[in-house]
Amino acid sequence: MAEISYREALNQALREEMDRDERVFIMGEEVGYFGGAFKVTDGLLAVYGEKRVRDTPISELVIVGAGVGAAMGGLRPIVELMTVNFSLLAIDQIVNHAAKMRYMFGGKTKVPLVIRTPQGAGHQLGAQHSQSLEAYFLHCPGLRVAIPATPADAKGLLKSALRQEDPVMFLEHESLYSVKGEVPDGEHLVPFGKANVMREGKDVTIVSYSKCVYDSMHAAEALENDGVDAEVIDLRMLNPLDIGTVVESVKKTGKAIVVYEGWKTGGAGAEIAAQIYEAAFDHLDAPVERVATLDQPIPYNKHLEKAALPSAADIVKVAERMM
């Protein structure tokens, strides 16, 4: 157990899995000499060489497609897309190919490909570099979606992703790379599809994932001072989605707030809310609230950007309104 950053946790998971399994390799833009645009692959090239740490051209479509083919060929490719914004250039290979091939080929193949990519706003990178697109991948049967919030989960989910057989969209967050936390050394596997109750409470259930989990925790602390006892759940994954843990909590609190950084409309929060209603309708004493990004491109200006994104303050305001 050591206190390391989300970035270091991912780097550690990559090293451990590359040591464990010869078939695991990583490719992407700047993952080698540069050590990754966010330094997640830092040092890997020196240890594993150009064969297993491959710098690619700026060609998202073929980078992902080559990952699909390599996975069919018996390898365990990890493709790093520099940011999720660029995944839209490769989404044909993700949605039309990787996610469908096993089924459309009658179960005769599998595509154990892990696509890692950071998303999120908050650094004034403007409309084309600040998106959170998990909703697109959630709406794609055949594709697993992991979206860790903590360093420990980043390591444990990435290791698990590399040991299962289906394609995985592994969504990191640009604002979390430097966040530190306790991470078990060595063999630490977080099972797919298990949400994590970060904080127990009886008054309201705050459901979230990725960076928003931290906003939710801060909101919970603030609410405590106003005597509101909030339970915070980190979903960790969107597919499989552990709605059971959420429903259990809602049955206890009778209130739910879903917090996410994607655009509010059509975002993952709509699905989570719908499932909460479907499973706990009679236990809800208020409609499920959604705290998310405004339905608009992300502005460059610092204040406008802040105003467009969900915050702990927004969560607190909503929670108090619900009480």
Partner: protein, 334 residues
């Protein structure tokens, strides 16, 4: 459009291939032709539904190319892949059953005509997104190189795929990384109803190899031996670690784009010219005149093929439908 043929290559091939191989090539081509004719018949009878893109007329490309490969080599194709799949060794039964949507189909009835697949035969799939197979072929090539194995990958696609970014991204990666992939463009002059000249500013498609510094050749795709020769060379190069090649096989589809295409955009005259260049007639004549085969041998092969196709239809017809309760099986492994 003048064809820069390499008849020496073809001639050499005619001599390199022994009698048994030549007859096998002939059998495969006839099998594919008869399979497609039967598929058309079954489609009109409503036994086959959805999209059905026939390969009749282009047999020399798939058979010639795959004859130049080893069993362990990979093949990636498009939605017009019945021919490639059979050439790679698939039982007409399994393919016909797939077109019928049966559980015994090569993709268990889940894929249909456009999505045939068999890992044992190293037939790595028919893909229905134009250009979609190329990145995957590059990836298979990468996996071979990574494992330091000897296989190569043959990737088939149409002229219509060249304007797709995927074609260029794949060629560049394959060239840059020296991947063992032979890119085979089936230039049949049309992408649906669009003439290649209206889709690409360069009608000599093999020339797209040049900027990537990889070999590019154009062959007569109606001459199975010429295709065989060119792919043999490209495959050897790939196998020896000298990287990818681009082969443009000029061919012609005798039927419409799919079963629902009335082919109004082609002139009768153009079609007649190409029907005269029928790759099967072409080879048959060669076998009789240049390799001293006799009518009876060829007739017998044709008769045997007839039975195989009839059996395939019977098999497909009698095979069970997938079970409804299995509708969601195979979405995930875990």
């Amino acid at each position: 459009m003048a064809l820069e043929r390499d008849k020496h290559v073809a001639q050499r091939a005619l001599l390199t291939l022994d009698e048994a191989q030549l007859l096998d090539v002939y059998r495969k081509m006839v099998t594919i032709r008869r399979f497609e004719e039967k598929a058309a018949e079954m489609y009109t009878k409503g036994k086959i539904t959805g999209f059905c893109h026939l390969y009749a007329g282009e047999e020399a490309v798939a058979v010639g190319a795959i004859q130049a490969l080893y069993d362990k080599d990979y093949v990636v194709s498009t939605y017009r892949e019945h021919g490639h799949c059979i050439a790679k060794g698939a039982e007409p039964r399994a393919v016909m059953a797939e077109l019928f949507g049966k559980e015994t189909g090569i993709s268990h009835g889940r894929g249909g005509s456009m999505h045939l697949f068999d890992p044992v035969l190293r037939f790595m799939g028919g893909y229905a997104i134009v250009g979609g197979g190329l990145p995957i072929a590059a990836g298979l090539g990468l996996s071979v190189m990574y494992k330091e194995e000897q296989e190569i990958v043959a990737c088939f696609f149409g002229d219509g795929a060249l304007p797709q970014g995927a074609f260029h991204e794949s060629l560049n990666m394959a060239a840059l990384w020296n991947l063992p992939v032979v890119f085979i463009c089936e230039n049949n002059f049309y992408g649906m109803g669009t003439l290649v000249q209206n889709a690409i500013s360069q009608e000599h498609l093999y020339k797209f190899a040049e900027p990537y510094k990889i070999p590019g050749v154009r062959v007569d795709g109606m001459d199975v031996l010429e295709v065989y020769g060119a792919v043999t060379e490209a495959a050897a190069r790939a196998r020896e670690g000298d990287g990818p090649s681009l082969i443009e096989a000029v061919t012609y589809r005798f039927r419409g784009h799919s079963m629902s295409d009335p082919v109004e955009y082609r002139s009768k005259r153009e079609e007649r010219i190409w029907l005269e260049r029928d790759p099967i007639k072409n080879l048959r004549k060669k076998l009789l005149t240049e390799r001293g085969q006799d009518e009876t041998t060829l007739k017998q092969i044709e008769a045997e093929v007839e039975d195989v196709i009839e059996d395939a239809v019977r098999f497909a017809d009698e095979s069970p439908e997938p079970r409804l309760e299995d509708v969601s099986k195979h979405v995930y492994v875990d």
